[in-house]
Symmetry: C2
Subunit: 121 residues, 2 copies
């Protein structure tokens, strides 16, 4: 028998795949909605103003990368974030963007609004 030494490369690939899941505007918006509480696809559609197909497609990507989990209930499906650390990750990311965006006014305003919204909830 022989040992298959898994290169550290594979670990980084795994990590990269995870970040790939976050590397899309719609998917980020989905996560920021879903991280608060479980949501149906319909709710997501409305919140995002996107059609059913698009939302389902992006949810499929998030599912494939194990960022999000689906719970079927009759004919509707509810989504949650698999790990609360995903939320924490998004928070750190927000802080990061906040410090990076200093100087670009419009985006900053957006960011602030988002932060307030989250605190209030």
């Amino acid at each position: 028998m022989f040992r298959v030494a898994l290169a550290p490369r594979d670990l980084q690939t795994f990590k990269a795949d995870f970040f790939k899941a976050l590397a899309h505007p719609v998917r980020i918006r989905v996560l920021e909605i879903v991280r608060g509480s479980e949501r149906t696809v319909q709710e997501l559609q409305e919140a995002l103003g996107l059609d059913q197909s698009t939302v389902s497609q992006q949810l499929a990507v998030l599912r494939a990368k194990h960022v999000v989990r689906a719970r079927k209930q009759g004919t509707t499906v509810r989504y949650t974030v698999v790990d609360p650390l995903v939320g924490e990750l998004l928070d750190v990311a927000r802080r990061l963007f906040n410090s990076q965006l200093t100087g670009t006014q419009t985006l900053l305003r957006e960011l602030r609004r988002e932060t307030r919204r989250q605190v209030r909830r």
Copy 2:
């Protein structure tokens, strides 16, 4: 102060672009080296076992997304992470992977080794 080269259409796009920068195994490895201390391209080449062109290329991506900053000094160029929060982000990500990988032995072992290495430093 910091200036975004291409004004992104909206905030989520900006965020997505940032995560895109992390969505590549080599770039993650680069960041995990560079986050500790400033490194020359040469040092990175050696540490990664990759050729000059590849390393420079990935550094270019990280630069374009403002994750990393270059400091030229004579003929050599030293790279640093722009914001220490990037390091924090990687830490949260590591915790996340750690909890996700429970059950896949080999990758877990790799992950542990990495964590130890970092603590020790």
